[in-house]
C-alpha cells in the first residue's frame, strides 16, 4: 500500500461492509465495531460514581494519613465496633455463666458449651505461656491433661488455685506450703540425700544405685519426708506434696534431678488470677481445665 495514503476512518471495508478505524498494520485493517450507547453510558456512570466515592470514603493519601471522607468511615473504627458488638454478645451469654454454679454449668449442655469456648479462649490468652498450648505442660509446669494433681483436681480445687494462685505473696488465701531446701539449708548431709534419693526411686519402682543404702534412705524418708509426702510417698494434696510413686513427674525422676530437688527444694509459683480476670472467666477456665482429661 502507498505509505502516503492512510485509509480514512470512514472507509468501508469491502469484504464485510463495516467501517474501519483507520488503524492499519502491514495491510491488515481494523474494523470499527463500537459499543452500544448504554455500555458507554455505564462506563461514564462508573467514573461519576468514583467521584462520589472519593468524597464519601477515605481516599486521597496525604503526608500523614489520608482524607477522611464525609461519613467518617474507617476500617479501624469498624473493627472496634465489631469487637464491641462481640463483647456485648459475649456478655449476654456470660450472664448465664455468672449466675450458675460449677455443677449447674456441667449439667447444662448449653452453658457447658459457652464455658468451654470462653475457657479455651481465656486459656490461650493467659495460661499457655507456662502450661503450653492445650495444657501440655513442661518441666516444672504441670500437664493439665493428666490425672495427677498437686493441689487437687476437683472443680472447686481448680477454681481455688486459679483464683488465688500458688505461693503468691500478696494473696492471703494462696497455696503456700513449700518443699524445704534440705541440702542447702544443712538439714540433710550429702550422703543422706543420696540415700533418700535412691529410696524415692525405689518407691516409684525404678532401679536404684547398687551401692545405695536403701535402709538408711527409708529411715530418713520416714523422719523427714513422710510428713508431707506420706509414709508410702503417695503425696498429699493439702500440702501440694506430689505423689512420688506414680508414673507422672513434674521435674524428673532420674537420680541427679531428685538429688537436686532434695538439695534445693521446689516451689513453683502460679499467679493469682482473681485480681486479673473477672469471676466468670475464672469459672469458664475452671470448666475448661477440668474437662481437659484429668478432672476429678
Amino acid at each position: 500500500m502507498d505509505p502516503h495514503h492512510e485509509p480514512h476512518s470512514h472507509e468501508i471495508d469491502a469484504h464485510t461492509g463495516i467501517a474501519t478505524t483507520g488503524h492499519e498494520w502491514d495491510g491488515i485493517r481494523e474494523l470499527n465495531t463500537p459499543l452500544p450507547r448504554w455500555w458507554l453510558g455505564i462506563f461514564y456512570a462508573t467514573i461519576v460514581w468514583s467521584i462520589g466515592y472519593w468524597i464519601v470514603y477515605p481516599s486521597w493519601p496525604l503526608i500523614s494519613g489520608a482524607t477522611r471522607g464525609v461519613i467518617g468511615y474507617a476500617t479501624r473504627a469498624a473493627i472496634a465496633d465489631d469487637m464491641a458488638e462481640l463483647q456485648a454478645r459475649r456478655a449476654s451469654q456470660a450472664a448465664g455463666l455468672t449466675q450458675a454454679s460449677l455443677e449447674q454449668i456441667k449439667a447444662d449442655p448449653n452453658l457447658f458449651r459457652i464455658a468451654m469456648a470462653q475457657g479455651k479462649a481465656a486459656f490461650g490468652d493467659n495460661c499457655v505461656a507456662c502450661h503450653g498450648v492445650g495444657g501440655a505442660g513442661g518441666k516444672g509446669f504441670p500437664n493439665l491433661n493428666d490425672d495427677d494433681w498437686l493441689w487437687g483436681g476437683t472443680p472447686d480445687a481448680i477454681q481455688q488455685t486459679l483464683q488465688h494462685g500458688i505461693r503468691v505473696a500478696t494473696d492471703s488465701d494462696t497455696r503456700i506450703s513449700q518443699m524445704p531446701a534440705f541440702g542447702r539449708d544443712g538439714i540433710l548431709k550429702r550422703d543422706e540425700i543420696v540415700a533418700v534419693a535412691n529410696h524415692v526411686r525405689a518407691l516409684a519402682g525404678l532401679p536404684t544405685d547398687a551401692k545405695a543404702d536403701l535402709a538408711r534412705g527409708r529411715q530418713i524418708f520416714a523422719d523427714t519426708c513422710a510428713a508431707c509426702h506420706g509414709p508410702q510417698g503417695k503425696g498429699n494434696q493439702e500440702m501440694g506434696a506430689p505423689n512420688l510413686t506414680d508414673a507422672i513427674t513434674l521435674y524428673g525422676m532420674d537420680l541427679p534431678t531428685i538429688t537436686e530437688t532434695i538439695t534445693n527444694g521446689r516451689g513453683g509459683v502460679m499467679p493469682a488470677w482473681g485480681p486479673r480476670l473477672d469471676p466468670t472467666t475464672i469459672k469458664a477456665l475452671t470448666v475448661y481445665v477440668h474437662s481437659l482429661g484429668g478432672g476429678q
Binding site: 459499543l35 503450653g132 508414673a247
Partner: protein, 478 residues
Amino acid sequence: MSVSEADDLPLFAPSKKVYPQSVSGPFRRLKWGLLVVCLAIYYLLPFLRWDRGPNLPDQAILLDLAHNRFYFFFIEIWPQEVYYFTGLLVLAAFVLFLMNAVAGRIWCGYLCPQTVWTDLFLAVERAFEGDRRERMQRDDAPWSADKLWRKGAKHLVWLMIAWWTGGAWVLYFADAPTLVRQLATLTAPGMAYVWIGILTFTTYALAGHMREQVCKFMCPWPRIQAALTDDEALNVTYRYDRGEPRVSVKQAARLRAAGQPAGDCVDCRQCIAVCPTGIDIRDGAQLDCIQCGLCIDACDTVMDKIGRPARLIGYDTEANLKRRQDGLAPVYRPLRLRTAIYAALILLVGGAMLYQLATRSTVGISVLHERTPLFVRLHDGSLRNAYTVRLLNKRPETRPFALSVAGLPGIGVEAVGVRATADFRPVIDVDPDSSREVRVLVTVPPGTPLEQSQVITFTASDLFAGEVVRTQDHFIAP
C-alpha cells in the same frame, strides 16, 4: 497507522430501537403456554408446602441462609454438600448442550427468563401503545396527553410486574407466608426490601429497556452456542434454496408461467417486523438470533395468503439445505455422535448424583486428634490420647449416639460432659438437624505393646435407629 484520524470515530454505535410486531401461529401459542407455565412456577413455588416434621420448615423449596440449609422437597442439603449444586450446574450445562445439538437455541427462544419476561413486558407495551406501526408513529410524534398517559401507564405496570418479581425472589429465602405478612405490615427484615429493590430494578431495566441488548452484548451463551452447533442441528432457517430469487407475487406468477425460476420469498419483511431482536433471518444463522420461531409464524401467515407451501422459514439444518440443492431428500438425524455423548454424560452425571443422594447417610462423624499434647501418661502408667469428635445428625429428631473405639487391647473411651450407656459407652445426644463437638479421651492400659502410631476405629451408633458410622484415626504413643 494514523492515530489522529481515529479521533473522529463515534464512541458508540447508536442502537436502533426494535418494535416487534404481534404475530399469531403455533410457535406464538407455544411461547404463550410456556410463559404462563414458567411464570406460574416462579411466582407460586415458594407457597408450596412440604411436611418435614415438627422441627423443620415446611416450605418445599427454601434457601435458609441463616441456618445454612437448602431444602428441596424431600432433599435437605448442608453447606458441605455443595457439590450437589456443582453436579446440578454440570447437568444443566450438558442439557443445554444437548438441546442445542438437537434443536438449536430452545433455551434462548422459549425458556430463558430474559425471553419470558421480555415477552410479558412486550405484551404490556402492546396493550397500552398498540402494535408496531402505532408505537413507531407515537414515538416519532411530539409529546401529548395521550402519549403521556399510555407511556406512563405502561411503565407503571412494568414496575408493578418487576416489583412482584423481586417480591417472589425473596420468598425463596424465608418462610413465604410469614414473609408476605411481614411485607404487608412493613415489618420484614431490611434485607428483604433491599433485594426486592434490586430485583425490581433489574427486571424493569432488563425486560423493559435492555431486551435484545442483553442477548447481543451481555449473555455469553450465543458465543458458546456458535462454537457448539453443527450442520446437522435443527435451527430456525430461511430456506434460501426455495426462497431465492425474491420477487413480487405478480412477477413470480409471470416467471412461473414462462417456465422460469421464481423464489417463494416475496420480500414482505414480515419476518423482520416480528423479530424481537430486529434481525433478518434471511441473512442466515447469526449470533443475534435467539430462535424464538416467531418469524416462522409470520412467514407461514404470508405463504398461506399467497397460496404457497408453508415453512419457507422453519426448523431445518444446514446439511439439509445443501442436500436439497444437490437434489437429495432432506433427512434429520437427531441421533449423532455428539448427541449420544451429551446424553451419555447426562445419564452419567445424573445417575451419579442420584446414587449419591439415595445412599447418603443421615449421620456423619469426623475426628481430629489433639496435637498438644499428642499423648498423656496417667498416674497409673496408662496412656491417653485426646480427640475432638464431631457428630452430624441430619434427621429432624434428637438422636443419641453411643461412641466406641476399637483397635487396641483394653482400649477405653470416655467423652467429656456426656452421659454413658450401661456398658460405659459415652452417649452423645445430637440435636435435630445439627452437629455437636465433644472432647473424647481414649485410654490404653499400662503394659500394652504400642508402636509410635497405630490405627484405631471410632464407631458411633444411633441407639434408636441403629444407624452406624465409622471413621479411623491414630493413637500416638511415645
